[in-house]
């Protein structure tokens, strides 16, 4: 069996973060799709390439089937890209975190399974928002994992923002309540809530998350928190089950795709957007504090499947 050798990936931007995956299979695709006859084998390789990018076998088959139906495409590669773009939720290119109730802070609730990068994402988001001139308060509502609040504290200090924390093992709902109070009292523009990672199959922990959501709604009615699901880009097909369970528990409004620089493809987000209609809002592309970028569907597809053209 032959496998692609590991290749260096410089961290930094989306394009370089995805360059490996592009080199991995799109170059093969480009080589195979002749300008003239589109061979059956080439479509099979396209499908395999999509599977290799974690789209999932059934979705990959569907993408290739709809690509084949596109009349007179510029090229098969372009047809696949068009079919992929069709899976993504239509979005406002000018989307940004915006207050829903005048005088109240924006509330961002960050959720996900263990180890996807929630705390790091919050740290980067805090820096991003702080640099944009917004006053940020962080809520350390992961009271379960050892040293989670210490980790968030380091990010709060880096970002130069306030943080509300209780003792380890405290009720995360109480942390959220206090943080929202602090946010209002200090005239914060945005309160970002870190929650403990939890597997979506643990019902008691999902119930606890739903309770946190209700506390937000009770303390700041109409706040409509931006509820971000943090997904590790190396995640395979289980990502869809995760997103569905979190969506059911707290009502997700967006996805943050992290660790995109780890040569992972992140193809599962196509399945998630297609099934649940939840848009990816940000991508984490590196370990630096500024490596959280707004998600750009065009750039994502182009970076994943090569430059427009064959």
């Amino acid at each position: 069996m032959t496998l692609d050798p590991p290749v260096d990936v410089p961290a930094g931007d989306l394009d370089s973060g995805l360059s490996r995956s592009r080199g991995g299979f799109m170059s093969r695709l480009r080589g195979l799709f002749g300008v003239s006859a589109v061979r059956e084998e080439a479509w099979e390789i396209a499908e395999e390439a999509l599977i290799g990018g974690d789209l999932g076998a059934s979705l990959a088959a569907r993408v290739v089937a709809s690509a084949r139906e596109i009349r007179d495409p510029e090229s098969p590669g372009a047809a696949v890209r068009t079919a992929l773009a069709g899976l993504l939720v239509p979005r406002d290119p000018d989307w940004d975190l915006r207050p829903t109730v005048p005088g109240h802070p924006i509330v961002v609730l960050v959720v996900g399974v263990n180890g996807t990068g929630k705390t790091t994402t919050i740290g980067k988001l805090a820096i991003r928002e702080s640099l944009a001139g917004r006053r940020v308060v962080l809520a350390a509502a992961d009271t379960f994992r050892a040293a989670a609040s210490e980790q968030l504290r380091i990010w709060a200090d880096r970002a130069g923002v306030d943080m509300v924390a209780h003792a380890p093992g405290a009720d995360p709902g109480a942390v959220v309540f206090d943080a929202l109070d602090a946010g209002v009292a200090r005239g914060a523009d945005i309160v970002i809530i870190d929650t403990a990672g939890r597997l979506h199959t643990k019902q008691n922990l999902m119930d606890e998350l739903a309770k946190i959501r209700r506390i937000v709604d009770r303390r700041l009615p109409g706040a409509q928190p931006e509820t971000l699901f943090v997904l590790d880009a190396t995640t395979g097909q289980n990502g869809l089950a995760q997103a569905a369970a979190f969506h059911q528990a707290v009502g997700l409004t967006g996805i943050v795709l992290t660790k995109l620089d780890s040569s992972a493809r992140g193809g599962i987000v196509f399945a998630i957007e297609d099934h649940l209609k939840i848009p990816v809002r940000y991508v984490g592309v590196g370990e630096g504090s500024r490596d959280l970028l707004p998600f750009d569907p065009g750039a994502f597809i182009t970076a994943l499947y090569g430059t427009p053209g064959p």
Binding site: G115, R145, A146, D232, Q237, S262
Partner: protein, 335 residues
């Protein structure tokens, strides 16, 4: 979604009722479904391709045993091959050396720190006196996390001042173990994001400095197609001796373990099955094989059919009460 898939596999295989020898047509039908099942379980597509070729050869013309149907016989061949692949190598934890050094490596967020604490507790149960070493100077508060876990287990944690190199932290840990009369050292190394040369060189240097008897790769059970690349990159830098598959208490199929085992040949040694420090299970290949196929119930029925002689085919089409994924933790070992 997964249930739909395993139901379809179940139905397809139930429709293959031939007797005598397995026909090529039956095999082709079965292989299409097996391929899809393995892919949806996150087994790497190249691994799937090789696996299908191999199993197909074995299945065509194979004798159908006892009261099995053709479909059941194919499942048995597939299952046996999965068990063989997952069962490579010795699974016992090596503890030679004084102190015995165990190093944990892996991507960020795979669960190294939690696994380090669980493994330490496991060695205590084996009668050892472990020392944990916090060798991740990069992730904020990683050392605090390990120290908190160690304190809860009453296991000492070696930490070094900020700025100490990872190699010196590891060396210091081994020296501390000698001083404190600890016979087992468990090193929690920094997770890495990218296939990063500098960080890979760093773990290679740690290995050269303290000669771990076990270098365990920690991989999240939810990992997708990328698992192969990750395992190969680590295997190219350090001599891996085993795999720990974490977050198995979720509902991911865990195909990553099959990808890694087939490509690198390193044995799966432990499963992480929860957030508590005792949630570390020894690995049973047949349970994970059943989970990857998403049809542990069918396999049980196949076995029963073999034991009983007749009447198995009817039971084969019956759905397991409750449905859902077979749990690798709860089902008793069937061998």
């Amino acid at each position: 979604m997964f249930d739909v898939l395993s139901d379809r596999l179940r139905q397809t295989l139930a429709s293959l009722t031939g007797r005598g020898r397995i026909s090529e047509a039956d095999v082709d039908v079965a292989m299409r479904e097996i391929r899809l099942t393995l892919l949806e379980a996150d087994v790497n597509f190249r691994v799937v391709r090789d696996f299908i070729v191999r199993v197909r050869e074995q299945a065509i013309g194979a004798e159908i045993l006892g009261s099995l149907s053709a479909g059941q016989q194919v499942v048995k061949i597939v299952h046996d091959e999965l068990v063989a692949l997952l069962g490579v190598g010795g699974r016992a934890l090596q503890l030679q050396g004084n102190p015995a050094v165990i190093s944990l490596v892996g991507l960020q967020g795979s669960g190294k720190t939690t696994t380090a604490a669980k493994l330490a507790r496991h060695t205590v149960k084996l009668g050892r006196r472990p020392l944990l070493v916090a060798a991740d100077p990069y992730r904020p508060a990683a050392g605090d996390q390990l120290e908190t876990l160690g304190k809860a287990l009453d296991i000492p944690v070696h930490r070094a001042p900020v700025g100490t190199s990872v190699v010196d932290i590891a060396r210091g840990g081994v020296e501390a173990a000698r001083r404190l009369v600890r016979d087992t050292v468990i090193i929690d190394t920094a997770g890495r994001l990218t296939i990063d040369d500098a960080l890979m060189a760093e773990i290679a240097a740690v290995n050269a400095a303290v000669h771990p008897v076990e270098t365990l790769l920690v991989v999240d059970a939810m990992t997708g197609q990328e698992a192969v690349t990750v395992a190969q990159a680590f295997a190219a830098s350090v001599p891996l001796t085993g795999l720990v598959l974490t977050k198995v208490d979720g509902d991911a199929r865990g195909g990553a373990a099959l990808s890694i085992a087939s490509v690198t040949g390193i044995p799966v040694k432990f499963l992480g099955t929860g957030e508590k420090s005792d949630a570390l299970d020894v690995f049973h290949p047949d349970r994970l094989a059943g989970r990857i196929l998403g049809m542990g119930d069918v396999l049980t029925l196949v076995e029963r059919a073999q034991e009983r002689g007749s009447g198995g085919t009817r039971a084969f089409s019956t759905r397991r009460a409750g449905g859902g994924l077979p749990s690798v933790q709860e089902r008793p070992c069937r061998r």
